[in-house]
């Protein structure tokens, strides 16, 4: 029953989130603030993780293809497709669920327990819309950019690490990157990024908005939010892959 209660309340909250804003100017101001705090502040962590994962992936591909029967071009090919199809969309969403999700839950949850949300409501502001809508729009907008950045820096990581580790040469790696490229994979992953962006913002916002109690409950809500967002990201990954790729 609890599951259906949460589903119902989540959609009821979304209905309030997508209501007509009181003043567009204030929402835009909030949107730019969220793009900065959630998006721009995530760029470095995305770059670092992508460079390292790209490098590690290249070395692992090299080891699993150590048999001379496989052309070494496949190392670049495998790194590229794994980054595009899974890492830079799904894995990055899981990482961002931890970073952005816990941030969103704790921010909104703290506002709830310190009566700041009640304060907005009494002023006549639709608190759900004012606090959550700019976050959802910001995260949905920045996720595709983070995806593209992640693919770029992941490949760059492979390009540096592979030759440095002596498992592949630069021309072989580049040849692999160009081999059998399917542009639709990019479209597919951007669609996934948009869906994951929505989940990463809206699910933690839900857990924060309905938190009750004090600091301890805000912490628990953050943990719940991250776990549930991760499960939903993987669930939707499965559905979208089945629907769009096979």
């Amino acid at each position: 029953m609890g599951f259906f209660f949460h589903i119902g309340r989540y959609f009821a909250l979304l209905k309030r989130v997508f209501a007509k804003p009181e003043k567009h100017k204030m929402y835009f101001r909030q949107l730019f603030h969220e793009i900065d705090s959630l998006g721009v502040n995530s760029v470095w962590i995305v770059v670092i993780i992508s460079v390292f994962i790209g490098g590690i992936m290249t070395i692992q591909f090299a080891y699993s293809m150590s048999n001379p029967i496989y052309p070494r071009d496949l190392i670049g090919f495998g790194t590229r497709d794994t980054l595009i199809l899974e890492f830079s969309s799904t894995m990055l969403a899981l990482i961002m669920a931890g970073k952005m999700g816990s941030n969103i839950t704790s921010e909104i949850g703290t506002m709830r327990v310190t009566e700041q949300i009640d304060s907005l409501e009494i002023m006549g502001v639709n608190s759900a819309s004012y606090l959550i809508l700019p976050k959802i729009v910001a995260v949905v907008l920045i996720f595709p950019f983070l995806f593209i950045m992640s693919v770029f820096f992941g490949i760059l990581g492979g390009l540096f690490t592979g030759p440095l580790a002596g498992v592949v040469t630069v021309p072989e790696f580049i040849q692999g990157l160009k081999f059998a490229f399917v542009p639709y994979y990019i479209t597919f992953s951007i669609i996934k990024s948009l869906v994951f962006g929505f989940l990463v913002a809206s699910v933690p916002a839900y857990f924060g908005y309905y938190v009750q109690g004090g600091a301890l409950e805000v912490g628990k809500a953050s943990t719940k939010a991250v776990v549930n967002t991760n499960i939903l990201v993987l669930f939707f990954d499965l559905i979208l892959t089945r629907l769009l790729l096979t």
Binding site: E22, K23, K25, M26, T110, M111, T114, E115, Q116, D118, S119, E121, I122, M123, G124, V125
Partner: protein, 250 residues
Amino acid sequence: MITLKNVYKSFDGNEVLKDISTSFEPGKTNLIIGRSGSGKTVLLKSILGLFEVDRGEIWYNDRDFTKISEKERKFLRKEIGMVFQGGALFDSINVEGNVRFPLDMFTEMSSAEKNKRVEFCLDHVNIEKQAFKLSPSEISGGMQKRVAIARAIALNPKYLFCDEPNSGLDPETATVIDKLIQALTKEFQMTTIINTHDMNSVIEIGESVLFISKGHKEWVGTKHEILDSGNQKLDDFIFANKLYAQMKGK
């Protein structure tokens, strides 16, 4: 004027407010007093519409808050100012920004007009200009309460609600806050409702006092009548407060 008629409110079958009928007059500091858990905050939040009442009517002049649409409620809420127990200032914006927020959200004032209004409100609650750019976490509890009052009066409300406005403050600062609320009530002729369990506040500003116990309305009167109420529960409440005050004095 705010009028309550036979208001009931319960949570999970537990009746917290039972048949409350009373009225709160404009230009006066109307106090709701009672022990912790007596239903003061539930009553205040019910009047504000943060809790929906089970039965009864809540009239803001000629508008029944329990019957009007959500759109009308939003409109009415622009006439309401609220000071929360903890201040409830927005952490992410500075003192000036907190007072400016309702002006940004609900008015078409020019930037210069807003600055003037913010300055006027903060000046009224004795906040010095040096503190305008500080964040709420950088100012004292007393100052936070004063900024919350400034924010509450920014839109020139007809109704002002204060939930334990002097809790957590030293007696001197508490008196300053009480007197400030009373002065603003007189100046702007607002209908002010204050939740408190502090007898000092009752003595200072209790122009109209409603005493509730276990969700029941027990007594209504003024600070001058409170010692001769003839209500045992109210006497017990006052005596307990006096004891506490004496202990604090020691």
